[in-house]
């Protein structure tokens, strides 16, 4: 009790408990307990603590330290049933989630990536850094197929590493290119991360898709520029193949033939949203159908593949929805302890300058990205940050069309930040996925050295989006203007 009053000089009881709650959560995470189980576990522990230990003794505690009752009871938990039904089940926007997952998996199976790789290699073979450029372009075009970063990094790595090693590329540039282009997928629409962000931040999915397009393309462009410059300055890192075939009309036609189907698919999805022909949810269904058709047309589709794709969709949806359910329960308990206000005050109190506050949030998210995947970060952190961002009242131009333009801009910033975080050594996610598919002569050291210039490019991109918010609000304003 004496200790309590000592602590009371610094924190009140609720702040102390929220701190303990997060520490318990982090401890469980490091023990390797699945994130969803840890979230519900912490929720239950503090729920029981609140109802049976703290609240009955609230008066005694208040003598030593400021304490607001949690007022958690089992009866109150019944309120989460309606919230769960309305938030997770009856949510037409989230219908896009399994559809985009299905589309991505189907696209991986359609073999378009392999075809593009073959064709582009022939075309760019005689260009210095041609292979790296091919991988980068495929990464940008196939950004659709991803969402779950591991998947795209593995796909590009399995395909690109052996070919690049075969042509004596430096290990650094080979791995850097693949990790960087593989993570672009979480930013370039249609990305399932944006679907979840739009749900959590209560902004239109169409706005977010359109808003992410320019920043994504700018990053892709910066990468390509970097590879070309690097090739000129350091030709030994990207040698030309020994026996080059001359570029013939056939080679160009092959590239066109291989690139057109996936481009058509992207056009189908993004175009139908842009021209207002379909809602993002409907576009997801069209995309899934289109990808199935691509797989069928390339004769890669049989009943076994079809079944596997839908079972894999079920599995991926399962672990995403797991965190959905768990995070909403966690948030319910956190709110009972006043945790949302405590965190809001903490973040807003960081500075009087709203841009520094945004920078502070991004820094926190950057650090969390070392530990958690985007699914957890979007579902746990975003709802807590929404009131903060709204309260900052940032002057972001919405052209009178985009609702909450500052939130759209903020979401894009978070997406780019997360992407950077996943690439940053020593613990970036993408690097470890890549290590998993590399031959043993490529060490983590090569990967770390190779990714550093890309992280710098990424930070440059982040800076550009930060200083020119119009980049993320202009296109949605045009798309939904009329």
């Amino acid at each position: 009790m004496e200790i309590l009053s000592l602590i009371g000089n610094v924190l009140n009881m609720n702040q102390l408990l929220v701190l303990l709650l997060f520490l318990t959560f982090i401890f469980m995470l490091f023990r390797g307990i699945p994130v969803a189980f840890a979230l519900v576990g912490v929720g239950l522990l503090f729920g029981v603590l609140g109802e049976f230990v703290l609240d009955p003794n609230a008066k005694a505690i208040s003598q030593y330290i400021d304490f607001d009752k949690t007022r958690i009871t089992y009866k109150k938990l019944f309120a989460i049933s309606g919230r769960f039904f309305g938030g997770v089940i009856k949510n037409p926007v989230l219908v896009a989630l399994p559809m985009f997952i299905f589309m991505g998996l189907m696209l991986d199976q359609s073999g378009v990536a392999q075809k593009m790789m073959k064709a582009m290699q022939a075309l760019f073979g005689s260009l210095r850094g041609g292979l790296a450029l091919s991988v980068m372009l495929i990464g940008i075009i196939l950004a659709a197929s991803t969402g779950v970063i591991g998947a795209s990094v593995v796909l590009l790595g399995v395909m690109g590493i052996p070919t690049m090693m075969n042509q004596n590329y430096s290990k650094e540039i080979a791995t850097g290119t693949i990790a960087a282009s593989g993570t672009l997928g979480i930013l370039i629409p249609p990305s399932i991360m944006l679907v979840i962000m739009s749900d959590q931040l209560a902004i239109s999915l169409g706005d977010l898709f359109m808003g992410a397009l320019f920043p994504g393309l700018i990053l892709g462009g910066l990468y390509i520029l970097f590879i070309i410059i690097y090739g000129v300055l350091n030709p030994k890192a990207m040698p030309l193949p020994e026996n080059r075939e001359p570029v013939s009309m056939k080679v160009i036609a092959d590239v066109a033939l291989s690139v057109v189907p996936p481009l058509l698919l992207i056009l189908l999805v993004l175009g139908s949203i842009f021209f207002g022909l379909a809602t993002p949810t409907e576009a997801s269904g069209l995309g899934a159908m289109g990808a199935t058709f691509l797989a069928f047309a390339s004769r890669n589709l049989n009943l076994k593949v079809f079944k596997d794709v839908m079972r894999q969709t079920l599995n991926t949806s399962g672990y995403i929805v797991g965190i959905f359910i768990a995070a909403s329960f966690f948030a319910f308990i956190l709110r009972r302890y006043g945790g949302d206000e405590i965190i809001e005050n903490l973040v807003t109190g960081a500075s009087d300058n709203p841009y520094i506050v945004v920078g502070f949030i991004l820094f926190i998210i950057f650090c969390l990205g070392f530990l958690l995947d985007w699914i957890e970060i979007t579902l746990i952190i975003m709802p807590l940050m929404l009131p903060v961002v709204l309260a900052l009242d940032l002057p972001v131009e919405g052209y009178g069309v985009v609702d909450n333009p500052s939130v759209v801009w903020f979401a894009i910033l978070v997406a780019v930040t997360l992407q950077t975080s996943f690439l940053t050594p020593p613990v970036g996610f993408a690097l470890f996925y890549l290590k998993g598919v590399c031959p043993p002569e490529i060490t983590l050291g090569h990967i770390y050295r190779g990714i550093i210039p890309f992280v710098l490019v990424q930070l440059l991109g982040l800076g550009i989006v930060f200083y020119f918010p119009e980049l993320s609000t202009w296109l949605p304003a045009i798309a939904y203007g009329n």
């Binding site: 994130v35 576990g41 997770v88 073959k118 075969n166 965190i323 359910i325």
Partner: protein, 267 residues
């Protein structure tokens, strides 16, 4: 050597071939796991169906026939599939974790972490959700809840009543995972299972006692109004009775297991 490069791409195409998540570690699976996988395999067909429903909707709307029931059907299918997916991912052990330290744990230590995560953290939550969703679905059934739009899909209570069933399937999935992982570091006995899922077991005992006494009061006391029943002293003390029931079960199962082990040991 362009030809060799092309070979490499061909090989790569094969190595990223997709697999069936339900067939991994199949040899370890118990009846519960196979049940959940079986349900999942059927539910997975919802995704292509959903795809067709969306595309149909887009097309017929272009011809001016807006079908409200098709709108409802989309999120019905999605919602049902997502919750079934939750249980499926428990069985396939796909729920995401931070594995910086975990990947270097020994097999036994990993199993202990899993037992704690599933038995102490996940299972009580699943039971709460089952209990809560039964009431939610029941209230919807009693009210005969329908769709928001006149020609939408009515009988919304069917969807709502299916949710507790899916959470219950999630409990079966969790139980099987718990059993499998417990078997990795000890010989499974009922009392060990009770301890491995202690909060779940205590809470389950409490709920059994609570509902039993609710119906007992309801059937023996015709005077009392339904919503007053939970204030009866018998029900208010259900927590203590629940703990008592749990301790009793633990002791009895421990003694029975000891007896059985001794007779096996003697023979």
């Amino acid at each position: 050597m362009p030809d060799r490069t092309l070979d490499v791409v061909e090989v790569a195409a094969k190595s990223i071939a997709i697999n069936d998540p339900g067939e991994r570690n199949k040899e370890e699976h118990l009846w519960g796991d196979r049940l959940v996988i079986g349900v999942g395999n059927v539910v997975a067909w919802i995704f292509p169906l959903l795809m067709v429903a969306i595309v149909t909707q887009v097309i017929i709307r272009k011809f001016g026939h807006n079908q409200a029931w098709l709108d409802d059907a989309q999120w019905w299918m999605y919602g049902f599939a997502m919750l079934a997916a939750f249980g499926y991912a428990i069985t396939t052990e796909s729920h995401v974790r931070v594995d910086i330290l975990h990947q270097n744990f020994s097999r036994k230590k990993k199993a202990r972490v899993e037992v704690f995560g599933v038995g102490w953290l996940l299972m009580p939550f699943m039971l709460i959700m089952t209990d809560v969703m039964i009431h939610y679905g029941w209230a919807s059934w009693v009210a005969g809840e329908g769709s928001d739009s006149a020609n939408g899909l009515h009988m919304l209570y069917l969807l709502k009543l299916s949710l507790p069933v899916l959470f219950f399937i999630g409990i079966i999935a969790s139980y099987s995972v718990l059993y499998r992982h417990l078997a990795r570091f000890t010989e499974v006995r009922f009392w060990k299972l009770l301890l491995a899922a202690l909060p779940f077991a205590v809470f389950a005992c409490e709920r059994v006692f609570y509902y039993a006494s609710w119906w007992f009061v309801r059937l023996t006391n015709t005077e009392i109004a339904d919503r007053r029943i939970s204030r009866e002293p018998l029900l208010e003390a259900s927590t203590y009775y629940g703990i008592g029931l749990f301790v009793l079960m633990l002791i009895v199962s421990y003694i029975l297991a000891r007896k059985k082990d001794n007779t096996v040991g003697a023979a």
